[in-house]
Amino acid sequence: MIAELIEAVAKILFIFGVNMGFFAPILGWVERKQSAVMQDRVGANRADILGFTLIGLLHPLTDTIKILTKEDFIPAGANKLFHTLAPFISLTPALITFAVIPFGGQYEIFGHRINLVIADLDVGILFIFAFASLATYGTVLAGWSSNNNWSFLGGLRAAAQMLSYEVAMGLSIIGIIMVYGSLRLTEIGAMQENFLRWGIFLQPVGFILFLTCAIAENKRVPFDIPEAETEIVAGYFTEYSSMKFIMFWMAEFLEVVTISGIVTTLFLGAWHLPFVSSEKLLSLFGFAGPNLSIVLLMLTNIVTFFAKIIFMIWLQMTIRWTLPRFRYDQIMKLGWKILLPISLINIFITGLVVLLK
């Protein structure tokens, strides 16, 4: 009992630490630095401690200090309760959804069974969608409660966009659920041990659909119309400052990580290395004894999983810095008239194949 408790706390601390302590601040740096390198620039490199700039890695730290010391401003006429609540509502789902994403398989070490997922729910995907759709409220409330025309327009756009893409995103996943026959993310992950059984090969259309919809859900370029700065200033968070402002950004960055996690789990073979099965790895680590070799295997899997996540983050950042943004009606058209039918056709064809096999 105590061992399980320790395990659970350790896993929560690990995921929470990785997300809040590593990804959330680092992604701000990554976004600046990667865009800079893509655009023939240098990027943030000025903050230093005793002359060491550490290629700009200190900027997240200085930014945090700066943001925390800023005035927290609530505009006159704003609904104070919802104005304060909105960033929290945005941030929480981004953090919670990671609870059901497995970052490793199941291992037996020293007679104790470790399952590397915080909550191994049998409705894992549903749980993700349920909480991801809660993030809409944060955005809409932020837009409405700010008492600002730009925020209001941003909130309206966000509501329309996020609700529309929720539908297509949900349907784009059905194919992969049909193929693997499970909603439990750990099972889906475990079934992708064979390289050729990875989701991306079984459901290439589903992969593109899901990635598109997920980026749209996350409101990043090319789908950033709720915060399109040249049109509606900063959209729903025009009136936010200080830590509340940065909470929206953290939510966005954490959602990037979450999307990467889901995509990795569903389509990119979860924690498995391509072409190398767990047995092979175990025999490779055989020199370390039965228990330690499993520990090594576990570490390899975790590293593999996070490497894949980092690749997906890189991909999303590249997309974000390459493309211009859509227009409001074009996004709606894309969501309802293109992505939705394609995902329905995808489900139909997948169903036929699954049935006939």
Partner: protein, 218 residues
């Protein structure tokens, strides 16, 4: 869009103009309609830049040619051309006095009214010479146009290559007195030479030698 042009354009008949139509195929092919190929092509370009620059960061190429365009300003400075117009300065003679004779041409031509001169006279050996008792240059007004340098008949004011440290927190500090403007002539030799060169006689064409027409219009 079929629009008949019912006017002539200048002296050239329209059929000889041969304008180039830039919009060739408006209709996208199905391949281009798919979004994905073009997105991948765009990402290929950005990734190419990314990769080249990453290699450049990890193994910095020797020499000046680098793909990253940024100049690390305080550590690195641009090599500015001789034509560059920086802070206007007064030329200081070898004996420490200013070369300016307070003729007032720069004061007159300055389009921003930044210069003000108070002239006076003093002894130089047995001769008398004019000199500026006060020469004030309001750097908050100066537009760095360089007209003062061009009209100066005595090579007394030139545009230096200084562009650092001109910003101030107080406007009062931006009014430069004579002492702050003086720069020894040795440091300004290149620029004086340059001004002499651009206003050299060989840059002027005598109209009578060429078939240049001067018509007084009245």
């Amino acid at each position: 869009m079929n629009y008949e042009l019912n006017y002539t354009i200048g002296s050239i008949p329209l059929d000889k103009l041969k304008p180039k139509k830039v919009r060739k195929n408006i209709e996208l092919t199905l391949w281009e309609r798919l979004y994905i190929p073009e997105i991948i092509r765009g990402m290929y370009i950005t990734t190419r830049h990314f990769t080249i620059n990453m290699i450049g960061f990890v193994f910095p190429p020797k020499g000046k040619k680098r793909k990253i365009f940024t100049v690390y300003y305080p550590e690195e400075k641009l090599t500015i051309p001789i034509a560059y117009r920086g802070r206007p300065v007064l030329v200081q003679r070898e004996d420490g006095k200013e070369k300016c004779v307070a003729c007032g041409l720069c004061e007159r031509i300055c389009p921003a009214l930044a210069i003000s001169i108070v002239g006076g006279e003093r002894h130089r050996g047995n001769d008398m010479e004019r000199y500026p008792v006060a020469y004030t240059l309001d750097m908050s007004r100066c537009v760095y146009c360089g007209l003062c340098e061009e009209v100066c008949p005595h090579e007394a004011i030139v545009m230096s290559d200084e562009y650092i440290g001109l910003a101030e927190y107080d406007r009062k500090n931006m009014i430069y007195p004579k002492e702050k403007l003086l720069v020894p002539v040795a440091r300004l030799k290149d620029r004086i030479e340059y001004v002499r060169k651009i206003y050299g006689k060989n840059n002027y064409q005598i109209p009578s030698t060429n078939n240049q027409i001067i018509t007084k219009s009245q």
